[in-house]
């Protein structure tokens, strides 16, 4: 198992109802696998437009998640 923190920004905070989450996930999960898991918890999440950062660097879905990683889900903002 790996314990990670997930930060939700913008619209995703409204969708999940939280700004931050701690989660235990199986070791070796990729970002895509995590998103699939989160999508089951927060229906429609996967369909939203956002990028995933792991430890403050934007990563692709194949990136493997490690113990203690800080995950951030960042959508674009429109307002000005």
């Amino acid at each position: 198992m790996a314990t990670i923190t997930i930060h939700y920004f913008g619209m995703l905070e409204s969708l999940t109802g939280k700004a931050e989450d701690r989660l235990d996930i199986p070791a070796g999960w990729s970002v895509d696998q995590l998103l699939e898991h989160l999508d089951r918890q927060y229906s429609g999440l996967r369909d939203k437009c956002f990028r995933v950062a792991v430890n403050d660097a934007i990563q692709s879905g194949e990136r493997v998640i490690d113990e203690g990683d800080r995950i951030a889900l960042m959508p674009p903002f429109a307002g000005g």
Partner: protein
């Protein structure tokens, strides 16, 4: 010269040389709203040589709590006209050009003509893609700022070859997915802060000093005090969705193509496994031929995204078309390219990666 700029010129990082560069600089500010106001004020105060500002809107009551160039008397007047009056009073040494238009594919290159830096102070996603694309094609850095309720984003695109908006957000959101200030609300001070950050990036770029926020996205949350800097990089294979030429940009419908239709047609895992049983279906691979792994199946057809518009005639019109790609991004971008050719109900995309597709195919084969 009077002592107007003394306090910034005694900074060794600016100095007389930096001030001279400022005087020679030509900046385009797109949008004279919440972000545009502080950007314009600080660039004017700092002694920027030439500022072209662009906004077709008039001042509304609902603007006044955050758009601090405008007052009660100005409601109903064109923003750029009022802004020019106020800014000229602030600093008559700055040449200000006020254009009461919106940036469009038709005028954007003209607006960027003879400009050193563009500030994206717009308020909607399609215009952000437009400004980015035109900046990239014109070889001009774009200083981006965007806000949502109490949160803001700042970064610099296309600075000495750095990443740009399509590297950060390759796939556009759906129509209505990302609310504007009108829908979501905004605390007046937030664009003040984000716009001031944008102005700071402009000053650093002009004076060739400091660390420019390129390849890094600054995120601020003034309510919960969450502050982060996220690194991002140019995407390796480039962007099929970035227009290759000015003519291609001008031919694009940004309103249409930079938002995915709200009734998006996504194929989730379950739907995908059902589709695997179908015969009258084409799984359309929109990746480049060299991208691996390949999916070998009689129903798979390969047309790379950048050739899709030209080669869509290869697709059967009587079958369901389901697009896929390496990560689930381009598969979505393919839909608007096919919308006028394939009936909507026959068109969908797979939002997950080729690796997941192949894993599901293997699972189904085992049954």
């Amino acid at each position: 010269m009077n002592s107007r700029y003394d306090r910034q010129m005694i900074l060794p990082e600016i100095g007389a040389e930096g001030q001279r560069r400022l005087k020679e600089a030509r900046v385009l500010v797109i949008g004279a709203g919440g972000l545009g106001c502080p950007v314009l004020q600080y660039l004017t105060a700092a002694g920027t040589g030439f500022i072209r500002m662009v906004d077709a809107d008039t001042v509304a009551w609902t603007n006044l709590h955050r758009q601090v160039l405008y007052g009660t008397e100005d409601v109903g007047r064109p923003k750029v006209v009022v802004a020019k009056e106020v800014l000229s009073r602030m600093n008559g040494e700055v040449e200000i050009e006020a254009l009461q238009v919106f940036a469009t594919p038709d005028n954007v290159f003209e607006l960027m003509d003879d400009i050193d830096i563009v500030v994206d102070a717009t308020d909607n996603i399609p215009t952000r893609y437009l400004v980015n694309d035109a900046g990239v094609l014109s070889g001009i850095p774009v200083v981006y700022g965007a806000i949502h309720r109490f949160e803001g984003q700042v970064t610099v695109f296309n600075y000495k070859g750095s990443a740009h908006y399509r590297d950060l957000f390759p796939e556009p959101p759906r129509e209505g997915e990302i609310p504007d200030c009108q829908t979501a609300g905004v605390l007046g001070v937030l664009p003040g802060i984000v716009g001031a950050y944008q102005a700071a990036e402009v000053l650093k770029i002009i004076t060739r000093s400091g660390e420019v926020l390129a390849n890094r996205l600054l995120f601020i949350d003034i309510w919960k005090q969450r502050h982060h800097v996220f690194e991002y990089h140019p995407a390796a294979p480039g962007h099929p969705s970035l227009p290759a030429t000015r003519e291609a940009l001008q031919a694009q419908d940004y309103r249409q193509n930079c938002l995915t239709p709200a009734n998006g047609r996504t194929v989730d895992k379950e739907a995908f496994c059902t589709l695997l049983e179908e015969k009258h279906i084409v799984f359309l691979d929109v990746r480049q031929p060299e991208e691996l792994p390949r999916w070998t199946d009689d129903r798979v057809l390969s047309i790379p995204l950048d050739r899709l518009r030209a080669e869509k005639q290869l697709l059967p019109k009587d079958k369901k078309i389901v697009t896929f790609c390496q990560t689930g991004i381009r598969s979505r971008q393919a839909l608007p390219l096919l919308d006028d050719f394939i009936p909507r109900e026959n068109l969908a995309y797979i939002p997950f990666s080729i690796h997941q597709i192949l894993a599901y195919v293997t699972q189904m084969d085992r049954r």
